[in-house]
Assembly symmetry: C2
Homo-oligomer: 424 residues x 2
């Protein structure tokens, strides 16, 4: 493994330009060449696991044990194995390029086709998880794209070692190693990247809300936002309360730190008294802190729940990412819809109800990436949805919405084959 | 017709909020309700043509006759008829919403569907052509969207009268007229619109490069760029020169003011001497000013062409939008590709060649929205491509590329119907 020096740069534009140029090589690889390239990367990663672990240990030394990011930074044999196995899985996914979306012969004889083609250069800005480096590089290569990686400085040694593993394989196949470009982590270069629309075709921020917000405000390049999940579960009057209990507990407790976990429970007024106390035991045991509106506050207080505060306005529309939630009692179905329209981050929303018409209205009228009836919002995930992989969960409406994978790393092209045709 | 007063505002946010709210009403209209709504708008436009023409005459009075925008501003009976007929055509197009893109039952029994749904609120910023007002409103309504229109101040009276025609029909059907919102033209409000991601789901700038550039730099809302066309026609060594002549003349002369017209001729060195003089008569007759590189300059000078200048660097990658073009002689096929990669605006590019392999390489390797072999670039157009209408020609890669119409005014939604499922 060779590790390139990128010190003392004052611009990253030459790196971006090299990657743009390398992207044309990657786009010309055949489906099977790309798949084989990825299988070889997986194998080379396994063969070089010790060098990668060494580098990771150097990163880890610099981080305090108390830092919550440390767990995300750390690699071990099992995690490397899992990265390699994810890569092999991606190699086996169908090629998203070369699909003929439309094909017709115009009256004048021109043969017109609309086909999917690689985007070109995919840029990803992410934080301390080094597995993203390989994940994203492999997804980009699978779909015929080059990739610009801008990882966090916390993981710099790990990322450098992982990219060296990839470069080894690219070089051995005579492919320009600039096809996978790890940028130096100097903060000054981020703005340069965000404005490099000449060299980068799409930018995907992965990480904290602050990062995504920063990219949204400063990027000139088109982005795919992988935003926050402020997720509601609405327990409607006609709900089967046992189902509702299981769904709410699952959505809040099964993995509280993730974006599709529950943030706010909406409950119809006429069942608040019977439903809310059903949550008390499990919530108490897990230590869930509740921010309750007036009615639910008094119901829960009466039920003897102590981790209880009066909700303020800012507790609605808040993504908790932990053992906290807010509760609001609503007067009607329409009230619930209005609340969700106002506070949802357009990620995942669920209704629990035995009234089929209301479920259908909820599924139709709630304007979010993933909308559920009678199930936990925790299912919003590329693998669960059958995409085979996931780059992220888009909360925007253009190009990709909800969990997205390879199919979002392509664009389309109109191809016209003529024989001298001119326009009248 | 009632014309609303929007004077003395200092923020447009309340208007945008009303439109967001009205968008939920439009989304709930059935396919046939939307189609009928548009047919009624077409009819009401015809019935109110005199009021519209009067308003248009007031706009026209304020513009100098010498202003090149005047022709685009002017309406007459025939143009109004044509707007109404375009609207009827859009009413007849298939509904782009409600398409099931994917449908599967997960192992746990959840029924998963991915369906197309309206974007919500479509914003359009455009300049002096009042027909865009009706075109865009009707396309948005057809696809279940509300629309925010920000037209040019030159056409303010015309746009106000046209929107009043639409509001009449909306009111008569009990639909919130804020579904079609014409913004006041004060410049101060543009920035507010560009940042209103809470209320507007997509922004489409239509007009000059300056406008599009401004939107790209300042918008926080996702945009679909309808960019410039810097279009090359590459006449390769093996070309049938008669075909090449017809194609080049058509691409430059048939309608020089549009984005898919030819800007630069690339010609292989070995045929420059035989091919370029073939253009001389027609180009002279039309008065085409040529910016020629060194070799083509001497060939054309020898052929007695006088509207000739030496090209400077800035004449390549330049969109002429008129009776001008640049010419460059290239050493090889690869040189042509490098030139195009560098100077193309990713709109439309064409090769003229009898070598099928080179045509195929060109079609595959040239990274633009529409790529041609042996045909004029003038065909890049939504109607020609069979889309039935056109909102614009996208030169970006996300969401829509090339000519796009109704199918770009939708997003998708994942719908999950469960029966109490929770994640393990």
């Amino acid at each position: 493994m060779r590790v390139r020096e990128k010190k003392h740069m004052n611009t990253i534009l030459p790196l971006l330009e090299k990657t743009k140029s390398a992207s044309r090589e990657v786009a010309m690889l055949s489906d099977s060449e790309r798949a084989q390239l990825i299988l070889d990367i997986a194998q080379n990663l396994e063969e070089n696991r010790e060098k990668v672990l060494e580098a990771n240990a150097r990163d880890a030394e610099k981080m305090e044990d108390s830092d919550p990011k440390k767990d995300r930074l750390l690699l071990n044999e099992a995690r490397i194995q899992s990265i390699a196995s994810d890569a092999r899985n991606i190699a086996s996914l169908p090629d998203p390029t070369g699909k003929v979306l439309l094909s017709r012969t115009l009256e004048n004889g021109i043969e017109l086709q609309k086909v999917t083609v690689p985007l070109g250069v995919v840029g990803v800005i992410y934080e301390s998880r080094p597995n993203v480096t390989v994940d994203v590089a492999v997804l980009a290569l699978r779909s015929g794209n080059a990739v610009i990686l801008r990882g966090g400085s916390d993981a710099e040694a790990s990322n450098t070692a992982l990219v060296a593993v990839i470069h080894d394989v690219l070089r051995s196949k005579g492919i320009d190693e600039n096809a996978v470009q790890l940028l130096p982590t100097d903060r000054a270069f981020v703005q340069e990247l965000l404005e490099a629309e000449k060299y980068v075709d799409v930018l995907i921020p992965r990480g904290s809300q602050n990062l995504i917000q920063f990219v949204r405000e400063h990027a000139r390049i088109p982005t795919i936002e992988t935003g926050a999940g402020v997720c509601h579960t609405f327990v409607e009057s006609s709900a089967d309360l046992e189902k509702a209990k299981a769904i709410v507990l699952n959505a809040k407790l099964q993995r509280p730190s993730v974006c599709n976990a529950l943030d706010t429970i909406l409950v119809s007024q006429d069942i608040a008294q019977s439903f809310l106390p059903m949550l008390v035991n499990e919530f108490r045991q897990a230590g869930v802190e509740i921010f309750a509106d007036e009615i639910s506050f008094s119901v829960l207080q009466e039920a003897g729940y102590s981790l209880l505060q009066k909700a303020s306005e800012s507790d609605f529309g808040r993504e908790f990412l932990g053992l906290k939630c807010s509760i609001k009692v609503v007067d009607s179905f329409d009230d619930a819809l209005v609340h969700i329209a106002r506070y949802s981050s357009r990620h995942s929303e669920s209704i629990v109800s035995e009234n089929k018409d209301l479920c259908d209205r909820f599924l139709r009228e709630v304007d979010v990436a993933a909308v559920y009836s009678n199930a936990s919002t925790r299912f919003t995930d590329g693998s669960v949805f059958g995409l085979g992989a996931e780059i992220g969960i888009s909360t925007q409406k253009l190009h990709a919405r909800g969990p997205f994978a390879l199919e979002a790393l392509v664009t389309q092209k109109w191809i016209l084959r003529g024989d001298g045709q001119v326009r009248q």
